[in-house]
Symmetry: D2
Subunit: 403 residues, 4 copies
């Protein structure tokens, strides 16, 4: 057992840290100003994001998330501390490095399951950063954490699939640069539960695709990255070649996509927590009430100790999970992936709550990133299935050991 990063990782950490210091943190107020500009086109991506992407690509800090061809070739364990670093400026650093959800998951999916033609048409420009993409799975009318509930239909009609359904919280789909959606629906509702679903690629400008509105997250439109769209598919026709993998493979592909997606979220969330803790420490060291800095208050110190202790534990579990994914595969790391999905967002939520509290009114305002980070992190307890589903499933395996 050894807790040191290898040489390549150590080098990349240094490079990325320098990039964050030189480019990313200084861009944060620029992003805020560009987002607040009244003349900005709705849902357009602020120019500073493109500038950062160019700078990162030029330095080779690009596609670090992707293990195979077209990516940086890093293992999950190598990528973990880098993804965490990007979480420290989570609105800017992940897109700057072309490592932002949902593109990352979509690129992995296409790399693993896409046909050569699909990879050429969609994966290449995604890897090059020319376009963005979305993943359309969640539906408003059903508990889609249970994939058998999905109501969107994908019906074959000659050489085409016809898609009908309603999706929401389709992250990034308000972004005009988003050119394609991967849509999950049922091709065969009569098949056994996990063979009913399929995935098709639907260009965003296909007739019948209607982007209805941007869904909010605790009031935030998240319009820095294309928000979260409600999208209606009405008799949307795509060629059968747009099917990803085989008919009925949708559930399995979704499962394959989720493991890396979840751990990436957790890695970044740790960076969010570290940033929040740093902001909290700076705040309480400088803010004076009742004659002394807040940092002298025992309760505030208690928060800070608790935050540090929780972060350390959560990070180690994320790292071990990454290592397991690398060594025994995503399926072998299933329990641990669930464990971090359960543990990390609630840990980070607790830390962000205390950070908000330490900042007073500024903590809930637009003048610190804390409230927005809180809101984004809060959704992680719901996204990809609520915690409760994962906890029940994890317990079932634990109980089975002693039956």
């Amino acid at each position: 057992m050894d807790f040191t990063h290898d040489a390549r990782t150590t080098g990349l950490i240094a490079e990325l840290t320098a990039f964050m210091d030189e480019f990313v943190y200084p861009a944060e107020p620029v992003l805020a100003a560009q987002l607040a500009d009244p003349d900005r086109a709705p849902w357009s991506i602020p120019p500073v994001v493109g500038e950062l992407r160019a700078a990162a690509k030029a330095r080779g800090l690009w596609n670090l998330f992707l293990p195979g061809e077209g990516g940086a070739g890093l293992t999950n364990l190598q990528y973990a501390p880098l993804a965490e670093l990007t979480g420290r400026s989570v609105l800017l650093a992940p897109p700057a490095l072309n490592c932002a959800a949902p593109d990352t998951g979509n690129m992995e999916l296409l790399a693993q399951f896409g046909s050569p033609a699909q990879r050429e048409r969609w994966l290449r420009p995604l890897l090059d950063g020319e376009i963005r993409s979305a993943f359309a799975m969640t539906e408003p009318d059903v508990a889609s954490s249970d994939a058998t509930n999905i109501t969107t239909r994908i019906e074959r009609d000659g050489d085409e699939y016809v898609v009908n359904g309603r999706k929401w919280y389709i992250t990034g789909a308000m972004n005009p640069d988003c050119k394609v959606l991967i849509v999950m629906g049922k091709t065969d509702p009569a098949a056994e539960p996990r063979r009913q679903q399929s995935m098709v690629l639907v260009p965003r400008d296909t007739p019948g695709v209607r982007v209805v509105r941007g869904m909010r997250v605790f009031g935030y439109p998240d319009d820095d990255h294309g928000g979260h769209a409600e999208v209606v598919f009405e008799d949307v026709r795509v060629p059968v070649a747009n099917l990803i993998g085989a008919e009925g493979a949708g559930f399995a592909i979704a499962q394959a996509r989720l493991g890396p997606g979840r751990i990436h979220h957790c890695m970044r969330a740790l960076g969010i927590a570290e940033r929040a803790l740093e902001l909290t420490c700076r705040r309480v060291n400088s803010r004076v009430a009742f004659g002394r800095p807040l940092a002298d208050q025992g309760v505030v110190r208690d928060w800070i100790a608790e935050a540090r202790v929780r972060i350390e534990q959560a990070r180690l579990l994320v790292l071990k999970t990454a290592w397991l994914m690398d060594t025994v595969g995503n399926r072998g790391a299933h329990t641990e992936i669930q464990a971090i999905k359960i543990a990390v967002p609630s840990t980070v939520e607790w830390i962000l709550d205390k950070a908000v509290q330490a900042h007073g009114a500024a903590g809930v305002s637009q003048d610190t990133p804390l409230a927005q980070l809180w809101a984004g992190n809060r959704t992680l307890r719901l996204a990809d299935g609520p915690d409760e589903v994962h906890r029940r499933s994890l317990a079932r395996r634990e109980l089975a050991k002693y039956r």
Copy 2:
């Protein structure tokens, strides 16, 4: 000891319940639509609010909060269940009944401390619902939970006071109908700490008053009721007659204002909790996942039981506090007012969190009121001094019993 409401209260509960059913709940989707109207003037109050106010006034459901002249003459204990009912539709019912903060506190303050001229000029139109008002105390640059930190200056210059300073989170001040601000500042920074502050009435259109921007609460502008403004006062001149009470009385007046303000918040918060619990029960009774309604899940049931048990306890403490305020005065109820200020928002936050979780993505969206209610309630752990300040103070008194 007796836990029944008196006859007048029981009657008013019935009247208000009927009003909620007939007018308020049906107006909720109307409000949402009017707020979302792209042609709406920024920060203007949606017309449905005015319609409700007319309806409520016509029925005599008006100024229920105010114990004395011009009000309904209710005790705090009588008002408590009514205020709770308004909390069930907290964006609409409190303003409909002219019982919304910060006007309530301002009207009480003017009724208690205002000169006859001040009462005629400002209190009467407030009671009549012709204008709205704001209360400018919190400052961005200092921990204003410690009033001795306040930096806004109110300096006498001949027959005028000159106000200079910066305030933020001035609720309602973005509202064009807001005609006057009660401003807290220091008239004598050299006096002993609790005699330095004074309050003056500043008409919102006074030269030098600059409403800078609307502050956000977890992404929400709260533009249904005039938001939360940042306001700069630059050499703002008002006649000396605009002083409320005496010079140096600002701290004492603020204290007097806080007691009722805090309990009103707590009363309404209980209504929010009841509404959230109702929405949760309805949701989990109808939503199916993995083959059965969410209501069959043990963890969901556990939330619901906990919610009910916590609400019952919190409500009783609020009621007892109201009774104490009526019988021994606000000062005599000091410990209990602090206790509910500590207990209620965190209880309601917990319930809203579970309600969000039970609603999945809808819970964080604009399609249920839950996320916005959560955000508004979250600020109560900060407003009028963060919980931690009140906890320390309450503990000090407890410890003194045994010293």
Copy 3:
């Protein structure tokens, strides 16, 4: 609504407070010494208990718990603050006043369901304090929170019932003064689930009654009051006249017994919490570490505030529940009885945990009452059905409102 105690209650509070000060608290070290005496007969009740009983009886502080004939005639609401006071010295005050479980529940049961002969034979000496009793319901081999699981058999054989079964945690049954056990068993396992059980009176010296051992509670034998026995019934024969009520009425009688039993536990638990909070305040006011009293530590203050806020809420819910039992009956107060059963023990546990922590090693030792109080209170989360059962049941009723 009114939160003042009536005159009789106020008078009794004063009398009982005086009795606690004059007799009970000074007897605490005497009890400890008598319990530690190596020459003491195992499980014998220390003499100081008898002395206190005589003193209380002489002052009329006797059987305060019993509403009807033979008791003090107090309502639940009147008894509540008195029971709380006894909780402040919970090993001594309840037995001193003949108000200790399980005798209280047994006396109520006999008063309500006993035949005249049963009342003469058992109730009268219990009311007079001549004997003690036990209630034999819990079984080691099944989840007896679900009464349909009970395996003890009560079979009619001519003019006798024959009892066979194993019970444990039969409080008080190690006490040589315990003369009778009320035993719950099945007379008709084929009846519908809630009509299978009956109760019989079994004199402790009946042949076939074997008191096997004293069960421990976190290491404590609780030998101040007869501990918690494991008892085996082997072909134990009692006359049919020993049946309480009718055959098949056991479940209903048990339910009737539980309501008052639970609220009495909760009332006393509040007294325990108040005592613990007092001890904590005294400790932290006087104990110095790192140059200042523990009371100056912010975290310690936070505990104290939280304790006070929680106690106030819990007490009000207990009082309201008592009032409901008085006004709408135990059945009408079912939800509230469950609510306090859920809320109070966990609240008191939290406070005792902090009290232990504030006392350091002394807190876990025999030199303060805190660890033993913690252990006793911990069992309340299990006794009469674990919290989880009550929470599920309470939630079911809440959910049914919206179905």
Copy 4:
């Protein structure tokens, strides 16, 4: 980074697991019976412990904790999973392997700071398992987590030191096999705070050493391993050669002793948690209530998932801490040692609480190990300084990063 154990550790895990299966678990009921034997000499160690010690020594499973000469030569990281395994049967396995506190800490201390004569006289028989020892630091009258509070005096008088003072919770000192105490006291109260203390070796049979009584832990005497004594030192004279290290070195030696002691406690506590989780799973899989196994209850599953997730995180932090101690030294691992001291006991307490709850009355009884394990673990939040002291200290270092 690599999460696999090395070959030696893997081998020892297998050997120890086999030893646990073959010898230790079967000895658990034997221990219980021997402890309950009414003819047993008070505080004598049950014979089964000696038998296990012989068996372990014969297999070379001996002194695994000790890195240097006389020990197994394992690193902390290698020892960690072995210590965890011993925690699964914490009353038997640690003493069986001569790896039980306080002997472990005392042997380390003597190995590191003892003179050749001291090592020959005390360390050798301790390593050989011929005697046991105690460590006398905690005092009843002061907050001894702050070592400057210690009041025990060690005064030089010619060739002797004279010890006067009162200590309590001296683990193991009731054991007749305990032959020596390491006593912390002040040799120079006028020196600077961390140079006032010294340590001397005091044979337990020295005149003036009075073992007053066994302190309890939540009712438990812990008489399987010599309990926790209160010891009075009255003019106890030992030769100056019994000083460990130099005068004034007591504080530094104590600090050196604490790091390994704390991590050993944490390692074993993880084994306790695993055992408790196993017992819980077995219980809920087999116990039926309301028609189905407890394992089907959602709340019970939630506990199990939470337990697994918490254990995994806590273990990784313990392992990383061990690795840091091995690679950068105890001082370099200071923050992490504090972090596990804070995190592990509260995690294990939570798991034990749920295990108790799942076991019902059996959980608080002498028929499962759970209540006693809970009580022992509870003391870890107090021992070697309460959590609150460590949290404040850890926070101070975190805050200093941003000052």
